[in-house]
Each structure stands twice: as structure tokens, then as C-alpha cells.
Symmetry: D2
Subunit: 268 residues, 4 copies
């Protein structure tokens, strides 16, 4: 394990996660008859693009999830501000969205809370559940630090994109993503998501470089693909993610597999 410039420290983390769900979407897609698939793809991708732009305003990170269920890490938002996104959707799209927000020490706990709050408000396919904003009433104002790991495949262009069939490249990267996401979820209560190309972003709370090293090793063992990761930490996903990107640039420049800028959590 080659790690540069890591400063080890433990902090208490609190992370805010939002779950966005298109209301009654399944039934809508087949009413009065199945809607044209490319129109659905257009709608879903546009909605995610808009959601990413909205979340960006608050220095958060959004992930497309299953498209009809999108996820965001947005520490510095007043949960009531999600009403603005609900209004935008209502005035731009033929669908509406409900939103659950959770706050917890780990991303998965926070997302669980968000999921439960939304589920308590009604089924995703309940035609009467419209534009719910389930933020609870005990929402503390302050969140803590978030740790972001920005992963990619070592020399993906030379080893895969310029050499292999696009489908096999895709499958390889998707398998690596899935193994990474499942590992981080099981071991560290963290979320990881594919973000395009060969990039995977992990949203973590309080894990150190050894954990990232273990994760990379796990993916290598399961899939044969070698990942590298830049690690960042900050009060928002954007702040942490920006550091992580810069750290990943250092991986590319130095050949280190793990690189962190700034103050990172220590291993246990």
C-alpha cells in the first residue's frame, strides 16, 4: 500500500441523505399503454440531470440510482428547500416526485431513515401519494464531515477501452462497481455508485486508508480489475469530492494506488 500525505484523525460524522422517488411511476409508464421506451429514457436522464444541478447548488452529490429512485448526499441544505425541486419537477415534467430525507452517522443509516420515512408516507405506486416531503420533525441543523473516495480503473483506456469490445469493458467495470459497492455497504455502511467512464464514487463516513486499501484488494480478488482511489474529506460531498479528485490525479501522476489530500480519518 502506497499512501501519500495522509493526516490521520477521527471525527464524528453526520450525513444527510435524500431519496427522490417518482410518484406512481410504474403505472404511469404503461398508461394508457406502454410509453415509448426512448421517451422514458429521455425523461429519466433529464430528470437526473436537473436533480444533479439542483443538488450542486448545495454542494451535494447526486446519484441516478435506479432513475425512478435517485439518491443525494447533501449536508448543507435546509431539508425544506427540497420543496423547490418538487416545484421545478411539477412545472417541467409530466410526473411529480416525493422525497425522504434522513440524517445519521453513516450514509446507509441516513438512507435507511430516508427510505423509511418515505415508505411510511405510502407506497411508491400509491396513486394518492403525491409530492410527499418526509423530513421528520427532529432534524438537527448541523452535519459533520463526509469522506469521499473517487475510484477509477488503472489505465482503463490502454488496457480496456482501446482494446476490448465495448460490451466487455462495460461488464468488467460494472462488476467491479458492484463488488466495490457491496463491500463498502457491508463492511463500512457506505454507498458507492458508478458515475461514468470507469469512475466510481464512494460516500463514506469515518473510514481510513486501510479500509480503502482493503476495498481495492477485494475488487482485485473478485474481478481481476485494479482500481486506484483518491480520498478527500470535507463538510460537503462537493468539498470532499474535489479533494478526492485532486488526490486521484496524484495517483495517476505518481503510480500510488491510494492518495489523500488534507485531513483524513485514521484507521482503527
Amino acid at each position: 500500500m502506497i499512501i501519500n500525505r495522509l493526516i490521520f484523525a477521527r471525527v464524528t460524522t453526520t450525513i444527510r441523505v435524500a431519496l427522490i422517488q417518482i410518484d406512481d411511476y410504474g403505472p404511469w409508464t404503461v398508461t394508457p399503454e406502454p410509453r415509448r421506451e426512448m421517451d422514458l429514457q429521455y425523461l429519466q436522464a433529464s430528470l437526473f440531470a436537473d436533480f444533479a444541478a439542483f443538488v450542486d447548488t448545495y454542494d451535494g452529490y447526486a446519484f441516478y440510482g435506479r432513475f425512478d429512485n435517485m439518491v443525494a448526499v447533501v449536508n448543507e441544505i435546509d431539508p425544506a428547500d427540497f420543496e423547490r425541486f418538487q416545484r421545478q419537477v411539477r412545472n417541467r415534467y409530466p410526473v411529480t416526485v416525493s422525497i425522504g430525507v434522513g440524517l445519521a452517522e453513516t450514509p446507509v443509516e441516513a438512507l435507511s431513515e430516508a427510505s423509511e420515512r418515505l415508505q411510511a408516507a405510502g407506497s411508491a405506486q400509491d396513486g394518492n401519494r403525491r409530492e410527499v416531503l418526509a423530513i421528520g420533525d427532529d432534524e438537527p441543523d448541523d452535519t459533520g464531515m463526509v469522506t469521499v473516495g473517487h475510484f477509477d480503473v488503472v489505465d482503463v483506456t490502454g488496457s480496456l477501452t482501446d482494446r476490448e469490445n465495448a460490451i466487455d469493458v462495460s461488464l468488467a467495470i460494472r462488476r467491479a462497481t458492484l463488488e466495490l459497492a457491496a463491500y463498502l455497504r457491508a463492511e463500512y455502511d457506505s454507498i458507492a455508485h458508478f458515475v461514468g467512464g470507469d469512475n466510481i464514487i464512494g460516500i463514506c463516513s469515518d473510514i481510513g486508508p486501510q479500509a480503502f486499501d482493503d476495498a481495492i484488494e477485494h475488487v482485485r480478488a473478485e474481478t481481476g480489475l485494479e482500481l486506484q482511489v483518491g480520498i478527500g474529506r470535507g463538510p460537503t460531498a462537493q468539498a470532499a469530492g474535489e479533494q478526492a479528485k485532486e488526490a486521484l490525479e496524484q495517483c495517476r501522476a505518481t503510480g500510488a494506488r491510494i492518495h489523500g489530500d488534507g485531513q483524513l480519518p485514521a484507521d482503527d
Copy 2:
């Protein structure tokens, strides 16, 4: 295996597949310094939305792939018409795209041809490779029938969405998608892609209901998730996909796990 209304027949298939690649994208995303992640997400999702709309004009199906590498099945297009999409991208976005097109009996062969043509024109990160349209010179005019399988998870809302943490639902569906895609690729030279919610679309050439049954069984064995599939066939992905969606509605209505409308390929 419960299968309704399938008419068995073998046909020769020829499928046109296009591979769209953002030119020199990796370097662009970090020049002069790493660009803001949510801006990249916005760009990628918008580009895919536009690509889906373009492909829809020709009754094709587009998949976001890795976002910087997108894939489409578009039988009824003159490959030169892709120039129109290249022009649109050039005039709408800060990036440009190169496109390779292949024609073959199976989706994977066609995509291989498209990949090779594009790779022959230069690396995806070659700053001098811009707006290549690699369609070869031996392109026959006619394509054949395409078979589409539209899969989803049996009772996903009741069993997963309304019950589980959104991250675990996502992981389960992503694992099912990956197992299905890898199986169809290995066994039947076919492509499968996640299209949102719990939906997976398989683009196949000449496979019959037994193959789909085997695929569903494979996914159940590997992941525990039970899929159902509507099967359609037609001269374009859209025509076949529309049938497949209607057939999937029949699965939902009747409890059949496999349903096909119209003339479907027979098993060997």
C-alpha cells in the same frame, strides 16, 4: 415454464449497432483542473437524453453504457445519418463525439465491429481524433429482425421498494442485471442493459423462449431475484420492444414468467 402465444420460427438476423464515444473526454474532465462532478453528471445525462431522442427518430434503442461510451441498436438508419448527431453535439455541448457502426448477425458481433472500427481510427484519448464516423465501406443496406426481451422483477414494489433500504434494493437489482447481462453475452452473444426502476432490456438476435427461461433461472440461482420477461420481435428495436412491453404486461396480468407476442424465434 409458462409461455403463452409463442409462434416459433427461425430467421436470419442482421443487427446494426452504434458505439458513441466522447472524444478525449477523460483529459477534458480534468483540464485545467478536475471539473465539478455534478456538472459532469449533468453533461453526461443530457448527452444521453439527446442521444436517446436521436435514436428514437430511427426507431432504435439507445443505452447509456458508460455514459462516455454509449450504445445503440438502430437497424433502420443510413449510417451516414449519424453525422447529424455529431453536428448536434458539436453545436450544443463543449465536447464532440466519434461514432463507430457495425453490422452483424448478433448484437455482440456488431458491437465488436463498431468498437474495432473506432479503435482503428485512434485512441479514445487521442486529442487529435475528433468526430470520427467509422462506418466502413461494405455496409449492406438491409438489416433483419431483432428480438427484444424486456425483463423486470416480479412484484418489485411490494417485495423491495416499499420494504427495503434504497441502497439494498439498488444493489439487488444491479446484481440481477449484471448476472443477466453476463449470461446473455456469454451464452447468446446478446446485450442486456439496465433501463431504470427494475427494468432490464435484452437485445438478442435469434434466441427462443427456452433461452429466456434459462436466463431467468440463472439469475434466480445466482441472486435469488425472480425476473419475468416479455419477448417481442420486429425489424427495429422499437417495434420489437413495443411488443415486448405488451407481452410483459401480460406477464403481470397472468402470472406467466415469460410471454411473447407475435412471431418469435424457436428454440434450437
Copy 3:
């Protein structure tokens, strides 16, 4: 009058014009209470962008008109193809559109026919009138040549943009646009529309360079602004407009006030 390279010839013209109307839009904008103005601006601009892209597929020209009533000149379209745009709108937006199509020797006659057909189908604010496509039953297949005049203000950057208050520049150009449009409508049954910057596009049927010279002179007399115009002619607005743009480049290069490429109509 300095005119270069004009070849004079008279032809019979037939022009297809479409009028797109958002269904029941006024009431929608204030139900249940006035919707947020910037959301309406976003919706209208997005809808026009999509309409322009749709019309471009058929080599037509689209104008935003009053945004809730948009206009397009699309010679080479099967009027039934407008259903595709109606479907796109239905699946992308919270509103739907009705469309009237007319075919006549002049743009204004064609638009009148389109307007009347739409009006015959019900009021723009009739909540029951949804997604009408009023194309008549006597629609001939073939259209003729269309003449496009692409106007701009001589040295607008030097004389206005870099010198004056943006509001006064806007007012001056809007006044010139209005005088030009009113003149072309009254004298030549033609349509003119502002297209951004200092550009105005006239869609005309069968008028020659003297008519354009008269129009420019009229604008100068009424507003003091000096316009120049490139003239083009072709089977579609796009073909004619491309010529007109190239001709306008020649105006800029040579100082000529009127320039035409290709075969243009003669004066009477």
C-alpha cells in the same frame, strides 16, 4: 441598390406552415395559483428548443412566435409526422400541444389555413381540446421553393452593442424587426421573425431583390437602422436559409446591402 450574383426566375411556390399551440395553457399557468414566472420561462424556452430540434429533422425553420403559439415552415414533412412531436411533448412536459398545418402559395396564407383549422377544432382555452392535429384531408404531397431573407444590422457590434445601453439596443432592434415584419406581411404576404442578436429571418414565397431593397429602405426610413440581407432559395427553409446565410456573409465581406446566391426570384 448593390446586388451581386442574382439570377432571376419566377417559380410557383407552395409552402407548408405549422402552428403549434399549447393546450389550455393560460388556465394552466394560474392553476391552482399563478405558477412561478421563471418556471414558465424555463418551460416555454425548453419547449421551443425541442420544437426547433424536431423541425430541424425535416429541414424546416421554427420560430418561437408567442411561445405558447409557435410557428414552423416545414415543406418536406408528412403532416402526420407531427404526431411524433405531440407524443414527445406529452412524455416530456406537463402540458400538451395541438397543431394546425396549412399549405398555400404564401407563408401568410398557409399560416392562415393552419390557424383556421386549429380554431375550427376548438378554443385554445377549451379544456377539452387536447392534442388536436388539424391537417385537413386535401393535403397535396408536394411543396415548392421557399425564399429566405436573412437580415442583420450593419455593424451592430461597433455601432450598438459595444456603445449603447443594452435596453436601448434591444428596443432599436425590436423596432426594426417589427417594422420589417409588418412591411413584409402587408406587402408580400411573408413572415419575418427575430432570431437572436441582430438577426431577423424572413420567410417569403416569390419576391425578388427589389422587394428586399424596398423592405430595407422602409426600415431605414421608419427607424434609422440600416439592415443588410442575404437571400437564398431552395426546396426547404433550411436549404434556402443556408444560402441566405452564406449570402449575408458576402454582404459583410463586400459591403453590399443585398446579396443572393443561387437561383433567386425576379422582380415583377
Copy 4:
């Protein structure tokens, strides 16, 4: 003059206006040859849609102006926040934008200041002027109240849209808009802009109901079109505009030609 519920009071106003200019746009549209017109229309409309959404975040109002020169009234923004819009444009579009911001007692003065600051930074067609943000260094933090008049044509659907040719309706409304805008600019240093349908929005500083009545009378005398206006006042364009819309609803309900909610300026 029928005016309801107006409360008269004079306040000192300070208004922030921003001028957005696409950098070097004219040359770009014709390099290396004239770009396709519908692509330019798409680009301009998309850029305005995005700008409207951006400005909405700060409760401002944006107007498309000449599309390559857009205008916004955004009282409650830190001028440095416009950098965020510049970044979005850079990462979404093939063009970049420069922005000038002015602060003054009237909209026209503020726009003049914005224009001058931008002009001082270089010509709109200077290829070296890129992404200027000209906000000056003496920018006070606080702005005052803004008065918004939201105008429309009395019974436009019954008298025009459902009766007349779309081109003549457009010309009539554009002439009314121009006369109104020119009058408000000359008499009250105010800005008015067409916002779609038959709606015109006036951004004013410190004018009372008599001024609006005079403006309506001026338009009637010049064009024969009868306007009505709802008047609102607030610390932001959005707050004032929302009141104005509600007041306009009262005009529609009561037949009053002028209606104001809340605290409005008195006449001199």
C-alpha cells in the same frame, strides 16, 4: 381608472441588474461556416432556460433580451455568485458568457452601469474577452424594493387567438409590447419585456398607479390594444412579480384594468 386596494407609499429603491453576453458569439456562429440555424435556436433557447432557472434560485427575473444578450433583475444575489452560472455554461455549452452587473435607483440606470462595465472589459466580439465578471468594487450589499407590473391583453383568446391569423396576433402583441417598453423606458427609466402569450412584464422602481394607467392609455392610443396590469412590490422581482400576478387575476375577475396587492408606491 379603476384601481383596487392600493396602498400608497414612497420608498427609496435600489435595483441590481445583470447583463449576460455570449462571448464572441457572432464570429462563432459563422465559423468555420454558418452554423445550422435550428442548432443556434436550440442553443439560445436552452441557454436562456438555464439562465432563468439560475436566476430563479435568487428570486430574480430573467428576460431573454436578444438571446446573445440576456438581462436579469436579481436583487438578492452576491454578484460573485454569477461565477457559478459562468461555470455551468462553460461545462454545458460550446460557448462561454461574460457578465456585467450594475446597481442603481432605476432599472435602466442599473442596466447602463452593467453595460458600461462589460463594454469597458472589451468588445462583445473580442476573441480574447472570455468569461469576464464585471461587478465593480463599490457594490453595496443592500438593494431596495422593486415594483413589477404584469400586463396582458384583455380577453386575448376571445378577441385574437381564436379569431385571427397567428401572424397578425403576434404582430399586434409585439407592437403593443414595443410601445409599452419604449414608453416605460422613456418616461420612467423602466424595463419591459415580452414573456410569452400576451404577457408583458415591466420592472420598475418607484412609480405609482397613475403611471401604469398612463402607460396603458399610451398603448391603446398607439395600437388600439387594451392592456390590463397587476402591480406588485417586494424586495425581489419574484416577490413583487408574484403579487403582480395575483393582482392581474383580480383584474380578470373584476374587470378592473389596474390592480395592486400590498404596499404600492404613490403617484407624485
